[in-house]
Amino acid sequence: MIRFEHVTRAYGNRVAVSDLNLNVGQGELLALLGHNGAGKTTTLKMLVGLLRPSSGSVHVGPYSVVGHPREASSLIGYVPDQPYLYDKLSGREFLEFVADMYGLTAVEARDAVTREAERFQLGDFLDQLTESYSHGMRQRTVFAAALIHQPKILVVDEPMVGLDPHSIRLVKDLLRSYADHGKTVLMSTHTLSIAEEIANRVAVMKTGQLVFEGQIDTLRSQVPAAGDSLEALYLALMEEMDF
């Protein structure tokens, strides 16, 4: 569903992503890991059409993100690291706006809003202005907006930041079950324990380059002395790359 082919992205002289080749298939949940500045957010932004690759191509389903941005984004639901909400809209109005943009009919939009509001427990706040929402509420509303059209691909940048334990559980279950239902999930995160818990595969980036891609067991065999947890494996891999 997602294909990065020889993708390089530079900001002036600084290369943020270098020759990235990455595929994520249907029913897969891939966790993108890496230090700050490794190129994770740049990769996700290229996928959702906010940045254009300097070279290479990004495909979503049958569509090139650069050539057919509108068609590509119709397949994607995106939860950014710094979500934007219209302060002067209520949660319901915001969700309806997003549903309208994806071409849902009025009845479909109403049903979708009800479904997502229930899923993310937005009921009590749905008709309040989003400017009054807490960080967790905002994050849950953005998740609801990203899923309003039940996209084939869900792209999530740092999903757990600022969420309470209850919401973290909710999001974890959601991401896993979404992949289990044949959809594709690409998640960037620093929370290694969550990646370990729910991801089928992990991809590790370092200074713009993909240094590992595969299942956690494969990583264990690559750095056998590191230990069992993904955290230990990740740190050992990073250390190995430094030499």
Binding site: A10, Y11, G12, N13, R14, V48, G49, L50, L51, R52, S54, S57, H59, G61, P62, Y63, S64, V66, G67, H68, P69, R70, E71, S73, S74, L75, I76, Y78, P80, Q82, Y84, Y86, K88, L89, E93, F97, V98, D100, M101, Y102, G103, L104, L129, H149, P151, K152
Partner: protein, 604 residues
């Protein structure tokens, strides 16, 4: 697989097939605007009544004032130049209209371009919308609508009283008023669309040079404007405002009447619509004016199509180009300003010195703050540097009194600009400290010191530019040393009073939820600060301006009334300065005392 395209045209997914049509997208955006607008209106009426009534009231006052001014001006033209239909009448009014509209046309091009840049390239909302399946042309048009509204409301506020006044003075027929709104909207649309197209093309072609290009263009326009003003007024003084001056000026501004300019179409359309019916049955003013109306409307529609077409072609690539730039690494280092400030602040205790230095660095490193200050004060400097016309007629006592009035008006203008500065930048300082209070509140510094530091920063920082500007105005007007001294005293009182008020009220009514200083300043406390500041300026300036004015007037009469004789006038002036001093102490101490009390008990 074909690059940048579909793998197979038959592979269109169900998701893409159901995406909204172009028209439906437009409707969705209108629905969004409707919801946001409704909520904002409710908020303004429920939570910002003071600000809303102030804005509406002042706008109405401004409109009525302009209307009366234009009405008298056009009456003067009809009485002294000729009635509508007369050759000189048409020439004179056309000169005024074309000059007025071409100036606004240029401003609309720039303001629409700049506002669109902010809306399209520096907005989180646009980034959000780009992740939705929205057409680029629709997205550009959505943001252009905002640029159009925000850049042209000033045009409507300025131009409508002039046009209505002209119609009433010349007893224009019904079609003048019927054409008027359509002509104004179409006229405003053309330069705004042009500004938008220029913005899109500039961002597409020159993303790396945009600051330089904008800077060069701005300097070139300011230089051209300055040169044209200087050239138009640079005629021997004997001719000033006389027939020769008028003829020469009319000739010099020939370029404003070019047939290809929308401002000329609007001027000619209005003049034709307003002129009386002649004896010639083939001369139909409504038709002649209608032709200009059609030219304006068709051009506006053409530019509308162009904006969406150019937006579709270049927006995404220009957006990507702009985001491909390397972030500038700004090294923070001490500059001569910091060193000078440190030297000047030496007499203060260490804590206050450190706090002021911190505020100064934050101010210096945020161009949004000082650039606005620089633009306002730069324009004032330009005006003050060209105000020496009165010097030529010093012997005339009426000119002397006008010089006095103008010098005090200049002082009031400096004060009013300072009050907008203190409201916009000093008032929100305490609110903005809310998020940094975890460090400020824990420092071994008395909270009073923090507040006094901000007061000193504002008062000392504003004194030099304000007193400098007022001094330049006085020198250019060649006022007496006594008036210079009075102005400097008042200037000092204004800087202290306005700073005390802004810091004190800012601490009394902090808003820790808001991060944007402009939104904090636009709240109730900021509006109250602005209104109180304006009142304070008016009272202080009047308290000293009136005695000086009467002092000069008394010289013009052989036997002035007893209370206006020289001895009494000095007493009035002394009393005026004394009252201003007491008022300055009150507006500084009272808000500061309340602010200090609230700040000591502050819990964030």
């Amino acid at each position: 697989m074909r690059e940048n395209g579909l793998a197979k045209s038959t592979e269109r997914t169900s998701e893409t097939l159901r995406l909204p049509s172009h028209e439906r997208e437009g409707q969705i955006f209108w629905k969004l605007r409707w919801h946001v607008g409704q909520t904002q209106l409710k908020y303004l009426l429920q939570h910002a009544r003071l600000r809303t009534s102030l804005v509406v009231g002042l706008s109405l006052l401004f409109w009525v004032g302009l209307f009366l001014l234009f009405y008298s001006g056009f009456e003067f033209v009809v009485d002294n130049v000729g009635p509508p239909g007369a050759a000189y009448h048409a020439q004179t009014v056309q000169f005024v209209f074309t000059l007025f509209f071409i100036s606004l046309q240029i401003m609309l091009i720039f303001s629409a371009g700049i506002i669109l840049y902010g809306g399209l390239y520096a907005s989180r909302e646009t980034s959000f919308l780009m992740t939705l399946p929205v057409r680029d042309s629709r997205l550009v048009f959505f943001r252009f609508q905002e640029a159009l509204l925000f850049s042209s409301w000033g045009f409507f506020l300025l131009a409508s009283p002039m046009m209505v006044a002209y119609g009433l003075v010349v007893s224009a027929r019904w079609y003048y008023y019927a054409y008027l709104p359509v002509m104004m909207v179409s006229f405003a649309y053309i330069p705004c669309a042009l500004g938008a197209i220029i913005c899109l093309l500039l961002m597409n072609r020159l993303p790396h040079l945009r600051r330089i290009v904008v800077g060069i263009l701005a300097v070139a326009v300011i230089g051209a404007a300055y040169f044209s003003i200087w050239r138009s007024l640079n005629i021997s003084n004997a001719d000033l405002l006389g027939a020769a001056w008028f003829k020469e000026t009319f000739h010099r501004f020939e370029f404003t009447r070019g047939e290809w300019l929308p401002s000329t179409w609007l001027s000619n359309g209005l003049l034709d619509a307003a002129r009386p019916l002649s004896q010639d049955p083939n001369d139909l003013p409504w038709l002649e004016s209608g032709k200009y109306l059609i030219v304006l409307v068709s051009n506006a529609l053409f530019f509308h199509v162009m904006v969406t077409w150019v937006g579709k072609q270049v927006f995404r690539s220009s957006y990507f180009g702009l985001n491909a730039r390397q972030a500038r690494e700004i090294k923070a280092s001490l500059t001569w300003i910091d060193r000078l400030a440190l030297a000047l602040l030496k007499p203060l205790n260490k804590e206050t010195r450190l706090l002021i230095t911190k505020d100064l660095r934050l101010f210096r490193r945020d161009p949004v703050q000082w650039s606005q200050f620089l633009i306002f004060f730069g324009l004032l400097l330009l005006y003050f540097a060209n105000i020496d016309r009165f010097r030529q007629h010093r012997a005339d006592v009426s000119v002397q009194t006008w010089v006095n009035v103008v010098s005090f008006l200049n002082l009031a203008v400096v004060g009013l600009i300072l009050s907008t500065f203190t409201t916009r930048f000093i008032y929100p300082l305490i609110s903005l400290e809310g998020r940094r209070f975890w460090i400020l509140g824990r420092l071994p510094v008395k909270r009073d010191t923090i507040l006094w530091g901000k007061f000193l920063f504002a008062a000392c920082g504003s004194l030099l530019p304000c007193s400098g500007l007022v001094f330049i105005s006085d020198v250019m007007l060649n006022v007496s040393p006594m008036v210079v001294l009075v102005h400097q005293i008042i200037c000092l009182l204004l800087c202290i009073g306005l700073s005390g008020m802004a810091v004190g009220l800012g601490a009394l009514m902090p808003n820790f939820r808001e991060q944007s200083p402009s939104k904090i300043a636009a709240g109730f406390g900021g509006t109250l600060n602005l209104v109180l500041s304006a009142l304070y300026i008016m009272i202080v300036v009047l308290l000293t301006a009136l005695p000086c004015h009467f002092y000069l007037l008394s010289y013009g009469t052989e036997i002035p009334p007893r209370m206006l004789q020289s001895g009494f006038l000095k007493l009035w002036l002394g009393l005026g300065i004394g009252s201003s001093l007491i008022l300055a102490v009150l507006v500084t101490v009272l808000p500061m005392r309340s602010g200090l009390k609230a700040f000591r008990q502050l819990e964030v």
